[in-house]
């Protein structure tokens, strides 16, 4: 058993967030590349969907993911500091 359970919990939550974010980002990119040919048959906002995803959609998603993960990490960090102050 660790002497600092709050620190351990913080470390695991951080790791979970990192892994989840990376899986979402890389999974979405891999899927978009693998199915790009088929997705291109669908037209979205006058763009072939496969092209749109790689040129814009995924980039917007990555930026949203970056800000979301930053927010969640700040929440995790705040809980650690509050726990240590008690």
């Amino acid at each position: 058993m660790s002497e600092q359970p709050g620190r351990d919990r913080h470390r695991w939550q951080t790791l979970l967030l990192v892994v989840a974010t990376l899986i979402i980002a890389l999974g979405a990119i891999a899927a978009a590349v693998i199915f790009a040919g088929r997705l291109d048959e669908i037209i979205f906002l006058r763009f072939p969907l496969g092209f749109y995803l790689l040129a814009q959609g995924l980039l917007i998603g990555l930026v949203a993911l970056a800000f979301w993960s930053t927010r969640v990490q700040e929440h995790i960090d705040r809980r650690l500091s509050e726990g240590e102050e008690l």
């Binding site: 620190r7 913080h10 470390r11 951080t14 967030l17 990192v18 974010t21 990376l22 980002a25 890389l26 990119i29 891999a30 590349v33 693998i34 790009a36 040919g37 291109d40 906002l45 006058r46 763009f47 072939p48 496969g50 092209f51 749109y52 790689l54 040129a55 814009q56 995924l58 980039l59 917007i60 990555l62 930026v63 993911l65 970056a66 800000f67 993960s69 930053t70 990490q73 700040e74 960090d77 650690l80 500091s81 240590e84």
Partner: protein, 613 residues
């Protein structure tokens, strides 16, 4: 020794200062547009558009000069996240991205999207895996962090040497692209332009180090954003009536497909990864813009994407800025802002490439070879395009139109017949972002050489003060880069890809282990770095070298192999070698705590307290 105990608060007037700067630059553009209508010559318009911002950059650098060590190496740790994000974005995209990426999009269309996607993903990965921990460590350079983490001077010196190749390739590429664009519009030779650019970035970094670099690069970011956006938005309004190129350039795809068909462009089969990226020399565009995987196969697309992602995440020039904000949380936010700015550019660049392609192919599809529009002559005068009716059929086909990769961004305002001031504005924007990136790469190399390589020889700064050593290193690095470019030729895109591949092979596995694995030791980190270098050396020796016409993209595959093997070697080296010391374990534990001061600042304060007793 001075203890950095003052609060890290940003200047509250920054918004006002940069608002004034932006207004002044916009006024300059409007004024020159009016002068053009009044009959000013193009040469004077170009000189005014390029030299006036340069004077402002030099003035900002002078105004932000400093002799304070923390200001010089870490910008006082009080750069707001948005500003740091802007500088990170400028350093990553640079003139190479501005000119060579837009050109690559023109030639490869869909397949080039791997690059922009990799930049954004790399920043996301960096923000998750490395940056917050480097901010907590607070070391002024990336090698210094590794030295502190493993209590090893030899590892620090080795890392300092190994960050030379990626930063030096990028530095050379950025100076070259800035010099090439300057030569097109200013009455200077290429050698003189290289010397001027090297002197300019040396001045900016010598007077204030990271501080003057940050505030000058912020101004350069603004100029590059305005210069890129204004011509693109004007062209978009002309074609689609909506000032949002990112949303509307899809309307151009149907006419573009028709033009491509008329000029003889038909679907292609993917070639080798090694030769897929276009070279700088003028060449015909033969692949349909929207065709997926016509130049790069699906596997090669993913390979290139992964290599550039890892390289971006572990690029020393970006990680060197990990200590400039006031807290770990601010540093995370700054990377998210950097991803936003880079994504905005990566989303807009395909629009620019689409419009240029549409304009070029529409005009050669409609006009006979003997009566091409005047803008063809303008581009030919700058050696950006070459046309030759090889089969003498009276028409120019796609295979007879040779286009220079790095001139696509400049071709947009010319091909759209916009006033010349828009062309000069685009050129000034490209030079601005190239200067910002070159300054960042220069400071990364010189700061590390001074602080990680030379300073250990004189740790108490008895021979020379710390900043004087940095000045000497900056001047020597800039001079070396200038001399190298005067003697050798490099392809800027290939140099940039090699730099990112090198960072992916060496620093990615090392940092991953150092930050995320408690058991990682000095030996493991050394082996991870060493294996990565060996993989890249093998690729460069047997697969090609990073100079024009000889480059082979096998470096991309070697980078991924180097990263994977480096990770394995690091794991094995850490397990079989001696266990980490209690001091190393304590340092690792502290890295994970997001609160409190930077570890380096804390150590400085302890040393100052000990010295005063």
């Amino acid at each position: 020794m001075r203890a950095p105990s003052r609060p890290h608060q940003a200047n509250p007037n920054l918004g006002a200062y940069y608002g004034i700067f932006t207004s002044a630059f916009v006024c300059l553009v409007i004024l020159l547009a009016m002068f053009e209508q009044l009959g000013w010559q193009e040469t004077w318009l170009a000189r005014s558009m390029m030299l006036a911002p340069l004077v402002l950059y030099l003035a900002i650098a002078l105004y932000t000069r400093t002799l304070d060590v923390e200001e010089f190496f870490a910008s006082g740790r009080r750069v707001p996240p948005v500003y740091n994000g802007a500088v990170l974005a400028a350093a990553l995209v640079g003139g190479t991205g501005f000119f060579a990426y837009t050109g690559t999009l023109f030639f490869l269309g869909f397949d080039a999207l791997a690059i922009g996607l990799a930049w954004t993903t790399g920043l996301l990965v960096s923000g998750l895996l490395f940056v917050p921990y480097l901010r907590k460590a607070g070391a002024y350079t990336l090698p210094a962090f590794l030295g502190h983490r493993f209590r090893s001077r030899s590892l620090r010196a080795m890392a300092s040497l190994l960050q030379l190749p990626p930063a030096a390739f990028l530095l050379a590429a950025e100076i070259k692209i800035a010099a090439l664009i300057s030569v097109m519009f200013l009455p200077v030779s290429y050698q003189l332009a290289v010397a001027a650019v090297a002197a300019m970035i040396a001045w900016v970094t010598i007077v204030g180090g990271m501080r003057s670099l940050t505030w000058t690069a912020t101004a350069q970011f603004i100029v590059s954003a305005v210069g890129f956006a204004v011509p693109l938005i004007i062209v978009t309004v002309l074609f689609t009536n909506v000032p949002a190129p990112q949303l509307t350039y899809g309307e151009m795809f149907e006419p573009l497909k028709r033009s491509e068909s008329i000029v003889g462009i038909s679907p292609t089969a993917p070639g080798e990864l090694a030769t897929a990226l276009p070279a700088a020399q003028p060449k015909p565009s033969i692949k349909p813009f929207l065709q997926a995987f016509g130049a790069l196969s699906q596997t090669d697309f993913l390979t290139l994407f992964l290599c550039l992602t890892l390289g971006t995440a572990a690029l020393p020039s970006l990680l060197a800025r990990s200590g400039v904000t006031s807290s770990v949380a601010d540093q995370r936010r700054s990377v998210a802002w950097a991803a936003f700015f880079v994504a905005l550019f990566a989303i807009s660049a395909p629009a620019l490439a689409t419009f240029v392609r549409h304009l070029m192919f529409q005009d050669i599809a409609q006009a006979p070879a003997s009566a091409l529009p005047a803008w063809f002559n303008d581009l030919s005068a700058h050696r950006l395009i070459v046309t030759q009716d090889a089969n003498a059929d009276g028409a120019i086909e796609a295979s007879e139109l040779f286009v220079a990769r790095d001139g696509i961004a400049l071709a947009l305002p010319m091909a759209a017949r916009l006033p010349f001031v828009c062309t000069a504005l685009m050129a000034a924007a490209g030079i601005a972002v190239a200067l910002a990136a070159a300054s960042s790469h220069l400071f990364t190399i010189a700061g590390s050489l001074a602080d990680d390589f030379i300073r250990p020889i004189d740790p108490r700064n008895e021979v020379l003060p710390r900043i004087v050593v940095a000045w000497v290193a900056i001047a020597a690095t800039a001079l070396s880069a200038g001399v190298f470019l005067a003697l050798a030729d490099i392809d800027v895109l290939q140099a940039a890809v090699t730099a990112l591949a090198f960072a992916a092979a060496t620093f990615f596995p090392t940092l991953l282990l150092a930050i995320w694995w408690k058991r990682c030791t000095w030996l493991g980190a050394m082996l991870a770095l060493g294996v990565g270098v060996a993989a890249m050396a093998a690729a460069l020796a047997f697969g090609g070298t990073p100079v024009a016409d000889q480059f082979r993209l096998t470096t991309v595959i070697a980078a991924l192999m180097g990263a994977a093997l480096g990770l394995i070697a690091g794991l094995i080296g850490s397990v079989i070698g001696p266990k980490p010391s209690p001091a190393q374990l304590a340092y690792f534990e502290e890295l994970g705590d997001p609160g409190g001061d930077a570890l380096y600042d804390r150590a400085l304060r302890r040393a100052a307290a000990a010295a005063s007793q």
